[in-house]
Symmetry: C2
Subunit: 205 residues, 2 copies
């Protein structure tokens, strides 16, 4: 598989949501033009994105909604369970931990770490909140696929380092700071301001 | 200005962050190849994106970091103040309200609405939490540019309708539900699972 950009993967997530919605509404097939319209991009882009992964369409009939959805589920790795550890039991961490969409997609938290003595020792659902100083040991003994960092920015660098030492391969960072990781570790920075910047762009026009 | 896709605008946000970082590190110029490398996309894509907005580069010298950053600030509408109303004073709403990155970009909350009688009548910083039944009246009297919806999905449809009636033109929706708005209103749905799906894609390879 050739190198696929993060933007292509994002569009695949977008197609996945559109296809889920079409499937729920009982619509059996979709053209690249219609997918493009629903996704707000060109049909040439849709055909290019899907061409990376093989040949799903039939000329003149379009794509089978369910087949294409299932193919994207497999491509995105959503046909399996992904375990996660949360760093930071503040309000963002709380919102992420209890976000229903994650569990529906196969992502679930099995560890929560914080440094606040009022939070350490309590539970969210059946998950203990553990002191962050024990995180490396806990993650070596009971590893996760993905760590979610929802701490203040000044705490994030140390956490990334302990995650790399513990062998965690996927990191989703919400802390507003630029971080780097060694090869073989996948880091995604989520910037909550990006969607606002898209609105301000369109509202400025 | 021709129609610019949401993906182009997202990449501009991405360039903006990279340029901010280069500027902080005192780096005066950047080539499209280097911008592409830092942004994880092709240099052809970088040149294409920036070509929508005029001619910032000098052949052989690359782009002036500060000039290009300032041009993108203007394009994204970040050289002004944007007022916002928050719907939903739960943990996600709390995280968004207190998110420092928004205020730095010129986005600030002036209203918070919720339906919980324990929250209504209290304040976050100097902003009153008002009952959602009064939202339409409050927003007619004291409008905002952008409404941020951080409520459960079943509440979102009614909120979108009241926002459209109140004349709010920009809506950032975090509720995991598909919503539609009339022409002239800009809606962005933020799906927190999308970044996880990007990780699961790369971790599956």
């Amino acid at each position: 598989m050739e190198k696929i950009s993060e933007f292509t993967v994002r569009r695949l997530s977008n197609y996945y949501r559109i296809l889920l919605d079409l499937e729920k509404r009982g619509i059996p097939t979709v053209s690249s033009a219609r997918l493009a319209e629903l996704g707000g991009i060109t049909s040439a882009q849709v055909r290019k994105d899907l061409s990376y992964f093989g040949n799903f369409g039939t000329r003149g009939l379009g794509y089978s909604v369910t087949e294409l959805k299932n193919a994207i589920v497999e491509i995105l790795g959503l046909n399996r369970q992904w375990t996660m550890a949360l760093f930071g039991a503040g309000s963002l961490g709380h919102a992420l931990f209890f976000h229903e969409g994650f569990r529906e997609d196969g992502f679930y938290f099995k560890h929560v770490f914080d440094v606040d003595p009022k939070k350490v020792g309590t539970k969210w659902n059946d998950v203990d909140i553990t002191h962050q100083r024990n995180a490396e040991e806990v993650l070596r003994r009971d590893p996760v696929h993905i760590a979610v960092v929802a701490t203040p920015p000044e705490a994030a660098t140390d956490i990334i380092e302990l995650l790399v030492r513990a062998g965690t391969k996927g990191i989703l960072n919400f802390a507003p700071t630029q971080l780097t990781v060694p090869d073989g570790v996948w880091l995604r920075n989520v910037n909550l301001a990006v969607a606002l910047e898209s609105l301000s762009f369109y509202l400025s026009m």
